[in-house]
């Protein structure tokens, strides 16, 4: 099927211990879009994305990445197409320097030294990490570490980038930088999946939204639509984004607003009739 870069068909998954975590999930992702997968902890979000590069194989159902059946390809092969950035940077960084950290994935891809150096130089510049080139990644701040983990995955040039809870442990400034980064990646033509329970973060990122709860998809649609539906969000143990909570109070019903200024203007217009 043209345009569909990810196809998840009737996916079921069960860990060897415990019950079914994903219970018949269907999902399609188009090339170049930003898709947010939202849900509370335990909804099955992380289990789902571990299927996208074959870390987990379906108990039942199929997962296709650019038409490739994930069961028939190794994680190493799939990770050239799908870049997964895990929640906790400390589970990933290990090298002596920032430069070597970025180099690691490139070595695994089998690039020669010249090609690797070229990519490392470009990525360090793009991610504004040049000053840290020879610094130990362990000595970076939480925000810089996060940036580095994304950079080292982007360096491998995957067509699809998956970010698991990117805002966890990040402060306000770091979050703003993440927004810019995601928008830039989209402009470069990447397909970006954001897995999150942080709906405030999505207020700054135009995207399509899929709501996961107890291993099934309970809703799907535009951000403007889904984030205003209290019933669906409550069912998934999620809260209104703060701005929507306020707009709901002010207007008596959930009204989509892009930002505070938009909310203010809509209010003033309403008062003036």
């Amino acid at each position: 099927m043209p345009g569909k870069v990810i196809q998840v068909i009737n996916l079921h998954f069960k860990y060897s211990f415990g019950g079914e975590v994903i219970k018949g999930l269907n999902l399609e992702v188009e090339e170049g879009e930003i898709l947010a997968i939202i849900g509370s902890n335990g909804a099955g979000k992380t289990t789902l994305i571990k299927h996208l590069n074959g870390l987990l194989k379906p108990t039942k159902g199929k997962v296709f990445i650019y038409g490739k059946d994930t069961e028939k390809h190794s994680v190493a092969e799939l990770s050239k197409i799908v870049g997964l950035v895990f929640q906790n940077p400390d589970h990933q960084i290990f090298a002596e320097t920032v430069e070597k950290e970025i180099n690691f994935g490139l070595e695994n891809l089998g690039l020669d030294e010249r090609a690797r150096n070229e990519v490392v130089d470009r990525i360090l510049k793009e991610f504004e990490l040049e000053v840290y080139r020879t610094t130990s990644p362990h000595s970076l701040s939480g925000g810089e570490k996060k940036k580095l983990t994304i950079a080292s995955v982007v360096a491998m040039d995957p067509k699809i980038l998956v970010l698991d809870e990117p805002t966890i442990g990040q402060d306000y400034l770091q979050r703003l930088k993440l927004v810019d980064l995601i928008k830039r990646l989209k402009n470069e033509g990447k397909t970006v999946l954001i897995v999150t329970h942080d709906l405030d973060f999505l207020m700054d990122i135009p995207c399509r939204v899929v709501v996961l709860h107890n291993g099934i998809k309970i809703a799907e649609g535009n951000r403007e639509d889904i984030l205003c539906q209290e019933e669906i969000l409550n069912k998934a143990s999620l809260l209104f984004p703060q701005l929507i909570e306020i707009s709901t109070k002010v207007f008596g019903r959930p009204v989509w607003v892009n930002n505070v200024e938009d909310l203010g203007r809509k209010f003033i217009n309403g008062v003036r009739g």
Binding site: K50, L55, F86, Q92, I93, F104, G105, H138
Partner: protein, 256 residues
């Protein structure tokens, strides 16, 4: 991993787990002493069978499976080495079984004894609390670390790392990206844990108390007395009857 797992406490309540920790110490003593007293396979078979029976009745089927599976390589090694040394099938198999008895009885002991109960026993025998606390912390954090190891492996595989690629040395090298984050996180965790301990007044008072009390139930008396008698019989037969000289596999074969 199954080897480590077999030593972890199981929070599910089983009748055996509810026994007083002192009873479980008697249970452990019986099997350790008995198995060390004898070399011959026949006695070890009896001990191992009765141990497995007690384990199965008490619901530790999985633990026994884990333990036997986990110590299979080491057990075979013991059997082979002993065979080279004694050139006696009977003794070398007996030694292998002895190792299994030691391991399985210990795993049942640790699986059924909440680490806090270890604290109580340690206190009962006037041993320092820090020892039992170390054991308690280990059982608390091993599952956490195992989960973390899995996350790290997943994260690095997502960056194209192939663990089982290359020759022997390359394979060892493959584990560096796993080991370093694991160690860094362990250090971080121990620092945070130390801070938490300070905030919970750990070591504030010399006279630490225990909210739980040791108590012997009827079942405890029954079990301990039974095990005690069995232990006495074992020691008596080892010391005076020289039972092993009478009941060897060869002698049994001769009888029939």
């Amino acid at each position: 991993m199954s080897f480590v797992k077999a030593f972890l406490f199981e929070p599910e309540t089983k009748t055996f787990s509810k026994l007083d920790p002192r009873t479980k110490i008697i249970f452990l003593t019986f099997f350790w002493v008995s198995t060390l007293l004898f070399n011959r396979m026949i006695i070890q078979i009896i001990l191992f069978t009765s141990l497995v029976l007690i384990g199965l009745i008490s619901g530790f089927k999985e633990k026994i499976k884990d333990m036997v599976k986990g110590s299979l390589i080491f057990t075979s090694l013991i059997v082979v080495i002993n065979y080279f040394y004694y050139s006696d099938v009977d003794v070398s198999l007996g030694m292998g079984l002895r190792f299994l008895v030691l391991m399985v009885s210990s795993s049942i002991f640790f699986a059924s004894t909440p680490p806090e109960d270890l604290g109580l026993i340690f206190n009962y025998f006037k041993l320092p609390y820090s020892l039992s606390f170390a054991l308690e912390t280990a059982s608390r954090f091993i599952p956490t670390i195992a989960l973390e190891a899995q996350e790290i492996i997943d994260a690095q595989r997502s960056r194209g790392l192939e663990l089982d690629k290359g020759g022997f040395l390359k394979r060892i090298k493959n584990y560096i990206p796993i080991l370093i984050p694991l160690i860094v996180n362990a250090v971080q965790r121990s620092l945070e844990l130390a801070e938490s301990l300070e905030s919970r007044a750990f070591g504030a008072s010399n006279k630490r108390t225990y909210s739980k009390k040791l108590k012997f139930s009827k079942l405890d008396y029954l079990f301990s007395i039974g095990m005690g008698i069995a232990l006495a019989v074992m020691i008596y037969s080892a010391a005076f009857l020289k039972i092993e000289e009478i009941v060897t596999l060869h002698s049994l074969i001769k009888v029939f």
